[in-house]
């Protein structure tokens, strides 16, 4: 149509014509993100290759009041990278250069389309790594990590993405190009870098990010312990925390999640366990040697019926494989599922899990649990069949009750997956009108025309077609799995 071709024409002048897609086949590939229940077809997808092109596109959007959604790999689990129908998608995957890797300052400067794991691979040559490790790390981008302040299995000790971003160059939704922070681990003046992290694409597009790198730990000590009940595993976590140890990771999986993982990757977890706990210590060998004795004593005093220590890197990888594959594995148990990532105070984990169990029994909806126990970050996987009438709606309703429970316990509706499209209705449960009003004023400072990823994070009217679509295409293909 004329309007379409005019848009195409304008964008083609900003990037090469063969990097503007308006045809159905290409657009279909961008219709949803990792939360496939939402779909929306954008007017066009632009694929810039340089930051100058990104800036030109954003300025054009600003000038013409055309909404845009920045997109990395589209693995968001909350509908964060869901396109806007009247807008365009700016696909950043080709901005995938690691611009600098400096072992003296221990930083990497990267473009937004760089894959998370690639940073650690490149830094590994200097004995360094990038700590945030979402399970999607073989595919998700730094731009997406920054926008969502993504986490992983090591947040208690090392924090989330924001804690590892020192500076950035970005184009704001106004077209202004800014530089925040720098290569120092310290800053002066208000921390704009920190504010930009977790802004869910509502402020603009990150063009270059300066990342903090850490020295690789000398060694890991990974323990897998089986329990007869979820509560006992939870008590073990409390015992570890109260001992004064600071493990790199503290993860729990329940029976349903174990069953799925076992079927998918044969991880060989203790048979008949109602829950398994993974504890990982890391650091200099002497320190780990002393701490492992302490950990053994603590775990011996818990009710674990079996516990194993990874003897080498391979065994460690096997333990983690079960954990990291849990989500996509659960997909085998059910045609569809949704993942929540609410947070509760850690001391109330046991209670939260019991209540989730009760809600599951009450509604007859199966829920598998895999979670970052050290952070109190739940990941209930709510199983349903989208072909059943009302199946999705019932699952969503249960998900909503779980989020409300998290808020009522003093926790959060999201630990790492972001609010996005999915949880925007729950933001007011956590924040007052005044709190949200300030966030809106902040948003207006960055994006007065509301063109950057509009419709997300803040409660809004309609959401695009809610339909059950099963696993992300890449998950089906076995390329990625979720945590």
């Amino acid at each position: 149509m004329a309007a379409g071709s005019q848009l195409q024409h304008s964008l083609a002048r900003l990037v090469a014509p063969d990097r503007v897609y308006v045809d159905d086949v290409h657009l279909a590939a961008y219709e949803s993100d990792g939360l496939t229940v939402f779909r929306a077809r954008p007017r066009a997808v632009v694929v810039p290759e340089t930051s100058a092109e990104v800036v030109a596109v954003v300025r054009w959007c600003h000038g013409n009041a055309v909404p845009f959604v920045a997109r990395g790999s589209g693995t968001s689990l909350s509908g964060g990278s869901l396109p806007v129908e009247e807008g365009i998608v700016i696909a950043l995957n080709r901005l995938d250069r690691i611009l600098e890797l400096d072992p003296v300052d221990r930083v990497a400067v990267v473009e937004p389309g760089v894959i998370n794991l690639d940073v650690s691979v490149a830094a590994g040559e200097s004995g360094l790594y990038f700590a945030p490790d979402p399970s999607s790390q073989t595919i998700c981008t730094i731009g997406g990590n920054v926008a969502f302040n993504s986490g992983g299995a090591h947040c208690l000790k090392y924090g989330m993405t924001a804690n590892h971003v020192l500076g950035m160059k970005a184009v704001l939704a106004t077209g202004e190009v800014v530089e925040f922070g720098g290569r120092s681990r310290e800053h002066i003046g208000p921390d704009f870098t920190g504010l930009f992290c977790g802004s869910e694409g509502l402020f603009g597009v990150a063009l270059e990010t300066t990342l903090r790198l850490l020295p690789l730990p000398e060694m890991f000590h990974t323990v897998l312990a089986g329990y007869r009940s979820l509560e006992e595993a939870g008590n073990a976590v409390s015992a570890v925390i109260e001992s004064g140890l600071l493990p790199g990771a503290l993860e729990i999986m329940d029976a349903l999640a174990i069953e799925a993982a076992e079927a998918a990757v044969a991880c060989g977890y203790p048979g008949g366990a109602a829950a398994v706990l993974i504890v990982e210590l890391e650091g200099p060998r002497e320190k780990v040697a002393a701490e492992r004795v302490q950990l053994e004593e603590i775990l011996a005093a818990t009710n674990s019926f079996e516990s194993r220590v990874a003897a080498d890197a391979e065994e460690r990888a096997t333990i983690w494989k079960g954990r990291k594959s849990a989500f996509s594995a659960v997909g085998r148990l059910s045609p569809d599922f949704i993942v929540q990532d609410g947070v509760v105070p850690r001391t109330r984990l046991g209670e939260a899990l019991r209540r989730i169990g009760e809600m599951s029994a009450e509604t007859g909806i199966r829920v598998a649990n895999v979670f970052h126990a050290g952070d109190g970050n739940l990941h209930p996987l709510i199983l349903f069949d989208g072909r059943e009438d009302g199946g999705l709606e019932r699952a969503e309703a249960l998900a909503g009750r779980i989020l409300e429970m998290c808020v009522a316990m003093g926790g959060s509706i999201t630990g790492e997956h972001g609010v996005g499209m999915e949880k925007r209705a729950y933001l007011p449960g956590m924040f007052s009108e005044d709190d949200i009003d300030v966030m809106k004023r902040v948003r207006a400072a960055f994006d007065p025309k509301e063109i950057a990823n509009p419709g997300k994070m803040f409660p809004g009217p309609e959401a695009p077609a809610l339909t059950a679509h099963g696993l992300h295409p890449l998950e089906k293909a076995g390329v990625i799995s979720r945590e």
Binding site: D102, P103, V104, D105, R106, F148, N149, G151, L156, M160, A162, N163, T174, E176, V178, R183, S184, R185, E186, H187, I188, G189, P190, D191, F192, G194, C197, P215, I241, E242, G244, L245, P284, R285, E286, K287, A289, A290, E291, V343, R346, T347, S412, I413, T414, V419, K423, L427, M430, F431, S432, D434, D435, I436, V438, R441, V442, R443, A444, M457
Partner: protein, 357 residues
């Protein structure tokens, strides 16, 4: 005359009642308080509201002295790993967040920005607002708590803060490594930072031509790590006794070494340390101590600022002057002032009640 609110609501009222307002915690970073308008003393908002050791979090009112918090945490074997600055001099939590200062322990696990989880603040319209949360992990809404780190009382008045805390290492040991020239110091510092040793703190003290490195670990591990470090630079490493260790980190945190009337914080990184030290060496009455593995330089300035200001600008560095006469500039060196800075100021403080930034 200063007002002394005793509740967040009273702070909000005071903001609404005055055309211009500024706040003072304990005044340990006095230059940041200077400015026009009604002065609010935050000492009336004092005390811990929630502290659940097994949650690794606490919430306290913004005027609470850091020292009081540290004592409460120590009772449970916990601490704020970044060694907040000027705690000994009475620094308050709110003032520490607003200044955005972290001490030597920032090296290992990160600083103020990395441990602050949530805030309650009064914005420039006198509205009470919350942002962030009270759990160790939370991604809901914009991260205004981080934005408040370094906001210098210009974007809002903090009334309550929530922090993540960590278990304190059972034992610590501090080693002194000789560092004859800045270039050698940087080389050794980089070696330590990249090593397997996992130092908790790492400072460079040019005056003493030495690096100080703090290890935290169970006792047996400390012996072995220290022995390896001593073997790395034979004859150039000394182990501090408890008293000297305490004094070393106290000096870093309190800047007791500084004798100039002006104090400046300069964010830097290892690759630019030597150049900054050279600049400082060339200035009369100027002295530096590098903390947090070279992430920050604390400067003491006895003489005029002009040469320092020019030097920093040439080096592409910026400094924040936090102690000194009221007519001294706040910012030294090359500062970028993007439009978004003014837009954010407008968003949070539309009537300009707080001092200009």
């Amino acid at each position: 005359m200063a007002g002394r609110p005793t509740s967040a609501e009273e702070v909000a009222e005071a903001v609404r009642a005055h055309r211009q307002v500024r706040v003072r915690g304990a005044g340990t970073k006095g230059r940041l308080v200077d400015g026009p308008g009604e002065l609010l003393e935050m000492s009336g908002l004092r005390g811990i509201e929630e502290y659940e050791a097994s949650e690794y979090t606490f919430t306290a009112r913004a005027g609470t002295p850091v020292r009081e918090i540290e004592e409460a945490l120590a009772e449970k074997g916990q601490y704020l790993p970044f060694d907040p600055m000027f705690a000994g001099a009475g620094a308050t939590l709110g003032g520490s967040v607003a200044a955005g200062f972290s001490g030597p322990g920032r090296f290992r696990y990160g600083g103020m920005r990395d441990f602050l989880l949530g805030v309650q603040l009064v914005d420039g319209r006198g509205t009470l607002v919350r942002s962030g949360g009270k759990v160790v992990k939370n991604a809901a809404g914009f991260d205004l708590p981080k934005f408040m780190v370094g906001s210098l009382g210009r974007m809002g008045i903090l009334t309550e803060v929530c922090f993540k805390v960590f278990p304190r290492p059972r034992r610590t040991r501090t080693l002194r490594i000789a560092a004859p020239a800045p270039a050698a110091a940087v080389e050794r510092l980089v070696r330590v930072a990249a090593s397997r040793w996992e130092a908790d703190a790492l400072d460079y003290v040019p005056r003493e031509a030495a690096l100080y490195l703090r290890l935290g670990a169970p006792g047996e591990a400390l012996d072995s790590l220290a022995a390896e470090i001593e073997a790395e630079w034979p004859g150039e490493v000394a182990v501090l006794d408890d008293e000297a260790e305490r004094a070393c980190w106290l000096s870093s945190r309190e800047m007791t070494w500084a004798n100039g009337g002006r104090r400046v914080k300069v964010p830097v990184s290892p690759s630019r340390m030597a150049a900054l030290q050279e600049l400082v060496d060339g200035l009369d009455g100027c002295e530096a101590r590098f903390a947090s593995g070279g992430a920050v330089a604390w400067l003491s300035v006895a003489a005029s600022l002009d040469a320092l200001r020019d030097g920093l600008a040439r080096a592409g560095l910026i400094g924040l002057l936090f102690a000194g006469p009221a007519d001294d500039p706040l910012w030294l060196g090359k500062r970028s002032e993007p439009a978004i800075l003014a837009d954010m100021k407008q968003a949070l403080d539309p009537d300009g009640r707080f001092p200009a930034i």
